[in-house]
Symmetry: C2
Subunit: 227 residues, 2 copies
């Protein structure tokens, strides 16, 4: 199993038992989601946005997290200008209900990535990156939709954050107070698992005959297995 080398920023200090630097684990967490939270510090303020992302490859093999946003957005303007970014992908898997308030927890899997992003300016690479982001949201979709044109590319900033300085953190399992004196308390303890569920596709109003004939996104068929 390949590990990423922890740095001062990705070294997990609390609950080291929950830390993971294995490429496979990092890749799996990033593969499952499509929304991250990205932050950077610019002009005295720390900015954060929730935003869609794509993946150009594995954390173990030069892969990058692809992000896009409006050219007018603080965070994307700063990122394009070379600001350090941090991006986090989080899956919330369960509420962990312990006998004590203190031992309540969350089962989760998260990946955090640090680094200076690469500003993608080449139009062909930029268009491909936007396709990758759409493809990551719904596999197959990027071959169905019209690709971006020049005017659209100009309105969008695309940056790529290398998956080299990254780590995962996760918690699984029941509450941790089963072996403590609290175990005898007359308090129910356990977990409530949470899942993301997708409803059936709903067609846009006024869909053209051609759009109706195309059917609910062909790529939809691969989606239910995701979650």
């Amino acid at each position: 199993m390949t590990d990423l080398q922890p740095t001062d920023r990705t070294q997990v200090r609390r609950h080291r038992d929950r830390a993971a630097y294995e490429v496979d684990q990092i890749d799996a967490i990033l593969a499952e989601g499509f929304i991250c939270h990205a932050a950077c510090h610019d002009a005295g303020t720390t900015w954060m946005v929730p935003t869609a992302y794509g993946l150009s490859g594995s954390a173990g093999d030069g892969g990058e997290l692809l992000l896009h946003g409006a050219a007018a957005n603080h965070l994307f303007k700063a990122a394009a200008g070379g600001a350090q970014l941090v991006a986090t992908v989080t899956h919330v898997d369960a509420m962990v209900l312990a006998r004590s308030t203190f031992s309540h927890s969350i089962n989760y899997r998260s990946v955090v990535v640090f680094g200076q992003a690469r500003h993608i300016t080449d139009p062909a690479e930029k268009a491909a990156a936007l396709g990758t982001i759409v493809e990551h949201m719904l596999p197959g979709r990027s071959t169905e939709a019209r690709p971006p044109n020049d005017a659209e590319l100009l309105q969008t900033v695309v940056v790529a954050l290398a998956l080299t300085e990254a780590s995962a953190k996760l918690r699984t399992g029941p509450p941790g107070d089963g072996d403590s004196p609290d175990a005898d308390l007359p308090v129910w303890a356990g977990t409530i698992a949470l899942r993301t569920a997708a409803d059936l596709p709903v067609a846009a109003p006024g869909l053209s005959a051609g759009g109706i004939d195309a059917g609910p996104s062909a790529s939809w068929a691969v989606q239910p297995g995701r979650w």
Copy 2:
């Protein structure tokens, strides 16, 4: 309807039609979630963690976002020391599949809060805040679980972030290209709604007789209506 006053930090610059400063809207988004992403900049690095939160009241009435973490955690140490924080709560409501790659989007509701947090050091207030965080995760739960003791309080940092410099941003509805020339393309377009679903509670192994008798958390009964 009461509005918060936008500041340089909370003024939404892109897609102003998606911005909301109404207290009711901000409160509703914060009420629905229980995980936020918090970030701050300290010692040259922007740190981010996903973390549970609680609410002490309404954004329109002096309410605060309550956060807790390990005293050894970078972000919580910095927050306790007076660093500026940003916290974001995001609900992802749907994938928005447009005819063009560029018009693909996400239906979401998010709240961002900026500010210097108040470090809660009084033991009674700290214990109450931890109870509020657990209560926000699962209503009723804070009266079932054992409250924190002095040793537990010492291991935990609790900070309160005023909900005064806050704004919401949201997108709803079908893809935006229904009135554009793209509407004639033979591409399916529409939305796929996403929901958080909770499974039935699973008891911890070795639950005491008293814990079993207490039943799956009494507060569980109120949970399904949440999502």
